[in-house]
Amino acid sequence: MANLLQYMISGLSMGSLYVLVALGIVLIYRATRILNFAHGDMATMGTFFAFTLLSFRLPFYVAFIGSLLFGGLLAILFYFSIIIPAQRREATLLGQITLTVGLGMIFQGAIVYLWGTDSKVMDFPLSDANVWKVGPVYLNELSLGTLAVGIIGSFLFYLLIQRTRVGLAMRATSENLAAAQTLAIPTRRILALAWGLAAFLGVLAGLFLAPALLLDPFFMLEPFLKGFAGAILGGLNSLPGAIVGGLIIGVAESLTGGYIALEFKNTVAFLIIILVLLVKPEGLLGTEFKERV
């Protein structure tokens, strides 16, 4: 029982980071129908930027905010300089997805070139060495902090989407682009904002993953795939779905790692997705395919 609780907690804390990644993927998918394969690499880029700022002995909060903004700006730059010209030339959807793949390669190559492939340890105010025993389970500072960031981040994000004018514009744009344009919503800027915000969430996840994993150029690949999987599990066009999906993936893989075998952690997570999708092809909370011939 204590073990189960322990696995649940570590699963939830990992899952809350997958939620942040998944939210970014869903945000971009809802806005532009693009699966952003560069999402993980954007997050890695932002995290390494924070690492560099920290190595200049800047205080942590400066590096933190600086890297979040850096990631966001990078994504906005990508949207304006590459996606929009491609759309002007009528790139297909698969073509646009390939553009993000290309961008991911550029980022990965640049990271390897600038920072090398060896793994690094990032200074982080929270540590997983500070452990408290609460009842039968052990809680460490880092996983609690991660959980808190996941919850607060998703909550603020929810407020932004549901309670502000910008959020309303974003929802309108993803619902119906042409109608949003007629209503004088600056859709291009809104879409760019969606890209920026997605990268912002990705970097946030990356910053909290870096101390748990080691910081190397490929450290976001697996969390990215998991976040992607979580987004699909919850339904790609549903933001609450991303939260549910990310948490389920996190808990599922933690339980598998604990009870079945560590090697099959990833496989079982994907197996669950396949089973869920066979029953509900649009994901748990997604509503998408209404088709007419």
Binding site: L99, G102, G109, A229, I273, V293
Partner: protein, 326 residues
């Protein structure tokens, strides 16, 4: 453009005498290539032939049938390791290739089942999960992957007194030609038309009498057969197999090859394969920057030629056909 009077004419691959001439010239050039170039270029060309098989297969699935798949690495691994085990057990070469293709095709059908209900990105994630599962199974069970040191696969025996590299070149050229002709025939037959109908609108296709279940599974089976043979040839060519060779990166490479080459064009498979092999090779000097250059090339090509390299190729051909009019 031209008047087609019978179905037989429609099915003909070489519809004009000049086309036959150019193709013969190209094949002749490929046959003579090892005599005029160095060893490294022969090596690269062999890799291009091997990749063009798998990329054509994926193009049948992604480009023609419209099912986005990200499980290529899984099929490659299955094909490669099946071939490895078969050739270790003493099976002859062609039987090994066939076996690799068939086993991959079997798993293709298995993966294809979800495709009956799933679409677009949802299917992509299921196939991606398959690829990751295959990778983990091969790393976890050493009797499948030949242990921690990897699996030694017997290389192709040199034939006709040629060197090992040159005979590998000719053999892969032959297999590549076979599969290219196969794809052209497949696409111009009723099966290809059914695939295209499924891609354009599956419900409409079903109304017109295309059996969706059958054709989606068939598309998965054929494409994974191609990919399995690709994996087998790859293993035979390198003489060594290791699960680490079939990660997500390999899937991404194949995906890029399909899209950059040109979706729904058989030539696209060949162009795409050449692209993903040649770009890293050409920029080999700038070691650390190769991924950056590679990614940038992908972006530039995609922005300026949304239809891929084969699309540009079609435009060039059209330009010369209509010359001096435009």
């Amino acid at each position: 453009m031209d008047l087609v009077e019978s179905y037989k004419e429609e099915l003909r691959l070489i519809d004009k005498p000049w086309k036959g001439f150019w193709i013969a010239l190209l094949v002749l050039a490929l046959i003579l290539l090892p005599w005029f170039t160095g060893e490294d270029l022969v090596y690269i060309a062999t890799l291009v032939f091997i990749y063009s098989i798998g990329v054509q297969g994926q193009n049948i699935l992604i480009g023609y049938t419209g099912q986005i798949s990200l499980g290529q690495a899984g099929f490659l691994a299955i094909g490669a390791f099946t071939f490895g085990h078969l050739s270790k057990a003493g099976a002859p070469l062609l039987l090994g290739l066939l076996g690799a293709g068939l086993v991959a095709a079997f798993f293709g059908v298995l993966v294809g089942f979800p495709s009956l209900r799933l679409k677009g990105p949802y299917l992509a994630i299921v196939t991606l999960g398959f690829g990751i599962a295959v990778y983990q199974v091969f790393t976890a069970y050493e009797f499948l992957s030949g242990g921690r040191m990897g699996m030694i696969v017997p290389k192709l025996e040199p034939f006709l007194g040629l060197s090992r590299e040159v005979s590998a070149y000719y053999f892969t050229l032959l297999v590549g030609l076979f599969f290219t002709i196969l794809s052209y025939n497949l696409i111009s037959s009723y099966i290809g038309r059914a695939f295209i109908a499924v891609r354009d609108n599956d419900i409409a296709a079903e109304v017109m009498g295309v059996n969706l279940t059958q054709y989606k599974l068939l598309s998965f089976a054929i494409s994974s057969f191609y990919t399995g043979v690709h994996g087998a040839l790859f293993g035979m060519f390198l003489g060594f197999l290791d699960p680490q060779m079939f990660t997500f990166l390999e899937t991404i490479t194949m995906f890029i090859a399909v899209v950059i080459g040109g979706l729904a064009l058989v030539e696209g498979g060949i162009f795409g394969a050449a692209f993903v092999i040649l770009i890293p090779y050409i920029f080999n000097e700038y070691k650390e920057l190769v991924p950056v250059i590679y990614g940038a090339t992908v972006i530039v090509v995609m922005i300026f030629e949304p239809l891929g390299l084969a699309g540009r190729w079609l435009k060039i051909r059209l330009y010369f056909r209509n010359w001096p009019f435009r």
